[in-house]
Symmetry: C2
Subunit: 376 residues, 2 copies
């Protein structure tokens, strides 16, 4: 029998790369738009441009185009406190390593993608789950005294939940008072305008020690030609640059120039088109499931994945996952996102929306048909 429990989400996603209809991983796999096609056709020119120009200049240009384009005008570009990494996970692990030198315990948003708790635990950190609603309530969350850092993903994967600006300010101030680091994973920021307030301005104003991870990897179907970005505050006492230097000298300036051009294109309508594609695919999935036992959760979510849920009389998510694989459809069961309490994910699967509309339609039809077979 296809093994599910004990498998990481990425392991399940890698199966979906091999065959069948893949709405498993959250990587962008829709067709390139015509203007993106033109940018890809120009990669050899970007290569020669990168050969000619100093790396620092190329890097700052790309960081500025990308981060300013999504509202992050106070990101510390050009200060030495903003490094470009192979991916957001590479950046994430640098944060995990630096935090482990400072604290034993991290409060982590719950649920979230399982590689975050895995990377933190692999550095020896103990984790305390913090539900989303405790982060955006009227008060900063009450945390055990030994918590030395708070780690928040916003927009969160898989729920699409966003930490509003006032709640971030409240959380940052409370962390500053308690001497805790605030680490923010904003990898899905570009997909949701509600997350595009200037987080750096809020963090710097609060006096907290902070780190922020940004990502180009969720946006454009560039076949993993992407970068993650890791920034930290002037007063942040974490050896993040050492962790960076141990892993890389630099990302490819060709990839940085590609990000620069795609971010520019985003500002000229590319982001609007992306948001419409995702919203359209979410609505399509909702419509295809209408009338059956499955429904799309998180109606407010804007990110490129949708959770699908069903009532307690239905099978558990691992069973549904296996049944869907049998029909050639790859999704993710949501148990592993609920890293502290997997049972909370047992009536949820995740469907990727960063796909051609026809693929989401095909996936939706398989889901609807499967659910009809349950005879609930």
């Amino acid at each position: 029998m296809l093994s599910v429990s004990g498998s990481s989400l990425t392991h399940l996603e890698s199966r979906a790369l091999r065959d069948g209809l893949n709405v498993s991983d959250g990587h962008p796999r829709m067709p390139l738009t015509p203007s993106q096609e033109r940018i890809v056709a120009g990669i050899p020119d970007l290569f020669h441009e990168a050969l000619r120009r100093p790396f620092d200049e190329v890097e700052e240009q790309a960081q500025r185009a990308f981060l300013h384009g999504i509202g992050q005008r106070r990101a510390p570009i050009g200060t030495g406190r903003l490094v470009s990494c192979y991916s957001s996970s590479t950046a994430m692990d640098m944060v995990a390593r630096a935090l482990a030198g400072r604290t034993s315990t991290v409060a982590l948003i719950h649920p979230t993608f399982d590689n975050i708790p895995d990377l933190l635990r692999a550095r020896g950190l103990r984790l305390v789950p913090v539900p989303e609603h405790e982060l955006d309530g009227d008060h900063a969350p009450q945390l055990p005294e030994d918590v030395g850092a708070v780690f928040v993903t916003t927009p969160n994967n898989p729920t699409g939940w966003v930490l509003p600006a006032p709640a971030m300010a409240r959380l940052a101030k409370s962390c500053a008072r308690a001497g805790r680091v605030l680490a923010v994973d904003a990898c899905f920021r570009a997909q949701d305008p509600r997350a595009q307030y200037d987080a750096y301005e809020i963090l710097e104003a609060s006096g907290v020690e902070w780190a922020v991870i940004e990502d180009s990897g969720k946006l454009w179907p560039t076949l993993e030609l992407k970068a993650g970005f890791l920034a930290w505050g002037e007063g942040t006492d974490l050896p993040l640059l050492d962790a960076f230097n141990d892993v890389l000298l630099s990302v490819s300036p060709v990839v940085l120039l590609l990000i620069d051009r795609l971010a520019e294109d985003g500002g000229r309508g590319g982001y609007r088109d992306l948001h419409q594609l995702i919203a359209g695919n979410r609505a399509l999935l909702r419509d295809l499931l209408a009338g059956g036992p499955m429904l799309v959760a998180d109606p407010e979510s804007r990110i490129s994945v949708a959770r699908v849920t069903w009532g307690p009389a239905g099978p558990d998510a691992d069973t549904v996952y296996r049944e869907l694989v049998g029909r050639g459809l790859h999704v993710l069961p949501c148990g592993p996102f609920h890293w502290a309490r997997p049972a909370e994910g047992r009536r949820l699967i995740r469907v990727a929306l960063g796909r051609d509309r026809a693929e989401v339609a095909a996936a939706g039809r398989v889901l609807a048909e499967t659910a009809r077979g349950w005879n609930l």
Copy 2:
């Protein structure tokens, strides 16, 4: 004053990316050959090819072209025990993480590039230095009982030392008997035919638990469009796949196809040209320094860096490094390579040879002039 001690080698290399003459990092920065130019011009076609084809097929093709081309015909392609990583350092850290779950102490080759001891230590591992001559002697090295793994870089950076096949077989058998893992970093393999015996055949035959890191990143001036590869044995009980899955779903298939084409080109004369460029630059450096107090060490080395040394009456390497930076020349002082006994590197600097001949000539002239100023 320019700080040297306490800086990692990568930190010093990153300074060299900003200005002056950079023979600091070992990354390939020579001009593209005409056939490499044609491959780069075809990247948009590789992109569309990667869009059309299954990832696994592209990955296996690239791994086969690259690894078979450098003699590694028994590499475990297609078994699930050979993963493609963003870089060799990403692979290295996966090995460090997996080893930390199994042992407290690793015997590590001495000297070697400092990010290797740094990544191992960051995972909480204690290190025991093993000099090169103990690895290729008539007997396997005698190691303290608590050593749970041996980590060897071959060809080694910065010395160019190569572990011969019989010594690898002896070391592997001795590790097998003692229940130790043997980890091999073969990132510079493609530069030295003496390292192109089939390491996988030897490792599998010995019964040892093993991991091997390979790298495309030292060979072609593709501006960090590269991959590292991490392989392990069928009987190797290390959670390397978990460590991989926590960091990435996959590298870019565009980069894999680029490696495929460059490896093919390597077989058609590209490797011969690369070896000649490096050998020519090494000889040029030697000739430019002739008659002065500096000389090129490691005359047998074939890798794309050269150590330069001088007598005990000369200044120490950090002083020389600073003097050279003052003249606009970036090299590396060798202290940090000697991670257990930095003083052993105090009369050594490292000069990168993966450069245009004119750059190495300019660097050699600055070195010769600097050394003449010592009035020894």
